[in-house]
């Protein structure tokens, strides 16, 4: 047992996978934007990656036990920020998600909440100290998760709100959920769908449209259904080998919506083909398996929950984003981690990986 974590214990393999994925992302951002009015975006993305890396090393320095100690405080801080954003945040694309940090930098505060919920739930699961969660435990987990989810939903940001849920679900599964509880939970979700459908009139117009166009994409070719269709056309027309770097007509002529961000996988699929998609998705699988490996080697359950919290969020992002690109789920605004252009999102991913490094580096430390 060592007293201090060393650079040797840093997960260089994980970092390598992350580096390759980020590199591919920068290339595709370049390809999607170099010929447009947004040229130079890839430099900004590289800057964000740099900031993210710094954040990652910073977070890996702070003992995760210290972070878990502060869980109640962090939780209250998170909720307060979410409330503040609802009151003073400014709207973009019809939703209040952003706070101005000065200097033209806008922080999407719900990204911060993702980190906090990982820490808070890790602390709770560790505290429960059992292999069989009771109904009471589950209710507490639901409330802990539900409050921030609700606050983010009011913004409204359905995508980010949903992203918090897998942390609780995966955590509960790992802590030991009874089959009957799981079954009832699934049943409740199944029942919620029609209720949610009836509640759709309370959604913002753009959300309503997203849902209806998901169900009938051909009806409105220039509306939101148009986005899904254009994304599918981009992916499908890429074929097996792809059209070549910078040669995708759907991408280069701007038919693919936000091709540098949420739909970057469609842009990549068009230019690099099925082969390119295989490489990227297998890299993500590698990332997830490597994260699970870190969870398995964690020193304690607390570390394991932290790592699996990160894993479940990243995995959910990849799953939902890739499904959206091929038209399996509605457009939700969930970016592809590490590849989609975006400051807050990229920073979150690196900082959450910082938590993972943190756990790994301390596996031999007492």
């Amino acid at each position: 047992m060592k007293e201090r974590p060393s650079a040797h214990d840093f997960d260089w393999i994980l970092l390598a996978i992350v580096g390759v994925i980020s590199g591919l992302g920068v290339l595709e951002v370049y390809s999607s934007t170099h010929a447009s009015g947004m040229a130079g975006m890839h430099w900004k993305q590289m800057m964000w990656i740099g900031i993210g890396l710094a954040g990652m090393f910073l977070i890996s320095r702070i003992n995760y036990h210290t972070l878990l100690d502060q869980a109640p405080f962090l939780y209250m801080l998170g909720l307060a920020t979410l409330l503040a954003v609802l009151l003073i945040g400014h709207s973009r694309f019809g939703a209040k998600r952003w706070v101005e940090l000065g200097g033209g930098v806008n922080l999407q505060v719900s990204e911060l909440m993702k980190l906090i919920i990982i820490i808070v739930l890790a602390r709770y699961f560790t505290e429960v100290d059992t292999d069989r969660l009771t109904l009471q435990d589950l209710a507490k987990i639901a409330i802990l998760t539900g409050i921030p989810v609700g606050l983010i939903l009011i913004q409204p940001d359905l995508g980010t709100a949903m992203v918090l849920v897998p942390v609780a679900v995966v955590g509960a599964a790992l802590a030991g959920i009874e089959w009957k509880h799981a079954a009832v939970g699934l049943l409740l979700v199944a029942l919620m769908v029609p209720v949610g459908w009836n509640m759709r009139h309370h959604l913002k117009p753009y959300q309503q449209q997203r849902i209806t166009t998901f169900l009938h994409p051909e009806e409105n070719r220039r509306g939101a259904g148009y986005q899904i269709l254009q994304s599918e056309i981009a992916v499908g027309s890429g074929g097996f080998w792809g059209k070549g770097f910078g040669k995708g007509s759907q991408n280069q002529l701007g038919f693919v919506p936000v091709r540098y961000s949420d739909f970057i996988l469609a842009a990549l699929a068009e230019e690099q083909g099925f082969i390119g998609v295989c490489v990227v998705l297998l890299l993500y699988l590698g990332l997830i398996l490597r994260l699970v490996d870190n969870a398995q080697k964690a020193k304690d359950r607390a570390g394991m929950y932290v790592v699996m919290g990160v894993t479940s969020i990243l995995g959910f992002h990849v799953l939902v984003n890739a499904s959206m690109v091929i038209g399996y789920v509605p457009v939700t605004g969930i970016p592809l981690p590490l590849m989609s252009y975006g400051g807050s999102a990229t920073a979150f991913v690196f900082m959450s990986l910082g938590l993972v490094m943190n756990v790994r580096m301390r596996r031999f430390v007492n």
Partner: protein, 621 residues
């Protein structure tokens, strides 16, 4: 160590392994999804991507020009720009409207109205907000490409009628293809195509319209062209050369400018139309851009019927000009002796009713020659009674009245020459013999068009050759019918018409030096003297005719003119324009002959004065 820290619990390795398997499974599922799109359906999507990217933009072919017989431009086309408003992005559109209103000088109401009208069209179809952009407008659009991307320029070809109202009624106008034409064209036309709607524009539309080309361009997601892949050039419409002589047309036009009526000048040897006027008329330039609905309604409901081509559609009583038909019928039918004469006391009694001569004091003893020269009504009443309506009908229709001349213009009217058969068919009663008396002086049920009347005179003076008037210069093989007339008839009737002008007749004020200018006047009452007198001056309004030609036999030029709604005699109202045209014709001809003579003397080479002009029409049936 904090109270929550529990280190004795083992990591749930089995559950983590299960998580790994689930992850692998989900990634495989995603890959299956991509496989479906990228491998199984890739052809379908490649096709859709191609259709997304490539757009076909029509290159509008300019319509062919119309030239006069000497190659002077009467109608041509010019490229111009329309300003389009793109409507894809409603927010951007809303924001852009105020600067557009200011920059292009269009009113907010107009813009709203046009956007409203296009409300139900697909959003990607732009609205034309300025059909004919000025240079300043184009500069405005070009300089605001970045901040007003909702504006777009489209090149179109427009019709230009440099002489405005001149010839308008016969040239016609162009307009957007109608829904019906669109359906019948079997894909030849697209919505918004410009086609000839009336007159020569319609008659020779096939030659004039050319074939639009096509540009294949790569467009981006907002439909802006990024680069061109290839052009199919437009084939411009072919120019057509008309038989019109601009100089004669100008003479006719300036006389008719503020009058109501029509003029037709024919080449008496060929049937070529040298000048054709109908007034009041319209300015076809108004149709070349986009005629406002209010303007169109005004033209359509104007009681002065500016859209009517009076030269071929005006069906009017010919008045005394019809006496030439009567004279021909009298001589040809031999129903009366050649030296037949009548005593005219200024009126005569037929079938118990008194019919007046236009000269209340009468003409005294009148033979055929004097009857034509002085236009004696009583003489023609008498021979009308002797000939009977069916003989009159035979000769009138034989000379081309009451039927279409076949001129190459759409919607020609036929006029009407009454007959016993016609009365029985239409009114289901016997012909009233008294009606024949009115018909004999070109009144009653007789109506003809100016072009028919010009042709009738040309036929009589030309010895029976029934010409078909036409406007397309190189119309191959114009058929001419023949209505046989004896030499004696032609000589006597033409002597009469020569006398009208040269022997102190009704057209004696129109004499021309050194020209055998002949003709016949006509003054058709719009209602009987009795009704007219009761209604005062207004009721006396007449259609004043003059049909003149030269020379006396085998005329080179025949001109028919009618002035409507004047209370004066045809020789006074319509005579001068006929005389001026004939005079202009001879002045031009003599000048040309003189030039040829000097050219022959000065230079051994044959003079080539005019360049050859490509014309179409050859090979037409």
């Amino acid at each position: 160590m904090a109270s929550w820290s529990v280190d004795d619990q083992k990591i749930p390795q089995g559950r983590l392994v299960l998580f790994s398997y689930v992850s692998v499974g989900l990634i495989v599922l995603l890959l299956v999804g991509f496989w479906k799109l990228q491998v199984i359906q890739s052809g379908h999507f490649a096709d859709l991507a191609e259709r997304n990217r490539i757009r076909y933009i029509p290159i509008i072919a300019p319509r062919g020009a119309m030239l006069d017989r000497e190659g002077r431009v009467l109608v041509d086309s010019y490229p111009s720009f329309s300003i389009l408003l793109l409507r894809d992005d409603p927010k951007l559109l809303e924001k852009s409207l105020p600067p557009i209103e200011e920059g292009l000088g269009v009113s907010n109401d107009d813009l709203r109205q046009q956007l409203d009208a296009a409300k139900n069209e697909p959003k990607f179809q732009p609205v034309v907000i300025k059909p004919a952009a000025s240079e300043a407008d184009i500069a405005f659009v070009e300089s605001h490409r970045a901040d007003l991307p909702v504006l777009e320029l489209m090149m179109v070809q427009r019709r230009r009628y440099p002489h405005g109202e001149m010839l308008a009624s016969s040239i016609g106008y162009v307009g957007e293809v109608s829904a019906q034409q669109l359906e019948q064209s079997d894909g030849h036309y697209r919505p918004g195509d410009i086609v000839g709607k009336a007159g020569l524009e319609r008659q020779y539309n096939d030659q004039l319209e050319g074939a639009d080309g096509m540009r294949r361009v790569v467009v981006n997601s907002v439909g802006r062209a990024m680069r061109t892949l290839g052009d199919v050039e437009a084939i411009p419409g072919k120019p057509i050369q008309l038989t019109i002589d601009y100089d004669l047309q100008a003479v006719a036009d300036s006389y008719m400018a503020d009058r109501e009526g029509a003029v037709v000048a024919l080449d008496g040897r060929t049937g070529e139309v040298l000048a054709i006027v109908s007034r009041p008329t319209f300015d076809p330039n108004d149709f070349a851009v986009r005629i406002p609905v209010s303007e169109w309604q005004k033209l359509n409901t104007d009681p002065r019927t500016p859209l009517l081509n009076r030269a071929i559609q005006g069906q009017l009583a010919p008045g005394s000009v019809f006496k030439i038909v009567m004279a021909t019928a009298m001589l040809e039918s031999k129903a009366l002796p050649e030296n037949f004469s009548v005593y005219c006391p200024g009126h005569a009694l037929f079938y118990g009713r008194t019919f007046h001569c236009w000269r209340p004091q009468g003409h005294g003893s009148v033979d055929l020659h004097k009857a034509i020269v002085d236009s004696c009504d009583v003489f023609f009443y008498t021979i009308g009674q002797r000939l009977g309506i069916d003989r009159i009908h035979y000769y009138a229709t034989g000379l081309g009245l009451g039927r279409r001349t076949g001129i190459d213009l759409p919607s020609e009217e036929s006029g009407l020459i009454p007959s016993e058969e016609w009365v029985e068919r239409v009114f289901h009663h016997k012909w009233y013999a008294g009606e024949t008396i009115s018909v004999a002086i070109g009144q009653g049920a007789v109506v003809v068009t100016p072009v028919q009347l010009a042709r009738m005179i040309a036929t009589v003076a030309g010895g029976g050759k029934l010409l078909k008037p036409y406007l397309l210069k190189n119309l191959a093989k114009v058929s001419a019918d023949h209505f046989p007339l004896s030499e004696d008839t032609v000589e006597q009737v033409t002597q009469g018409m020569y006398g009208v002008i040269n022997e102190g007749g009704t057209g004696s004020s129109l004499r021309l030096e050194n020209i055998e200018f002949s003709g016949k006047s006509g003054t058709a009452q719009l209602m009987s003297y009795e009704v007219g007198n009761r209604m005062g001056k207004k009721g006396r309004e007449t259609n004043g005719w003059f049909v003149g030609y030269a020379p006396r036999r085998n005329p080179e030029i025949v001109v028919a003119a009618v002035i409507q709604g004047s209370s004066e005699h045809g020789g006074t109202t319509a005579g001068p324009v006929v005389r001026d045209i004939v005079k202009a014709y001879y002045e031009k001809k003599n000048a040309h002959l003189q030039r040829q003579a000097t050219a022959k003397n000065d230079s051994p080479r044959a003079p080539v004065v005019r360049p050859l002009i490509a014309t179409v029409g050859a090979g037409r049936p």
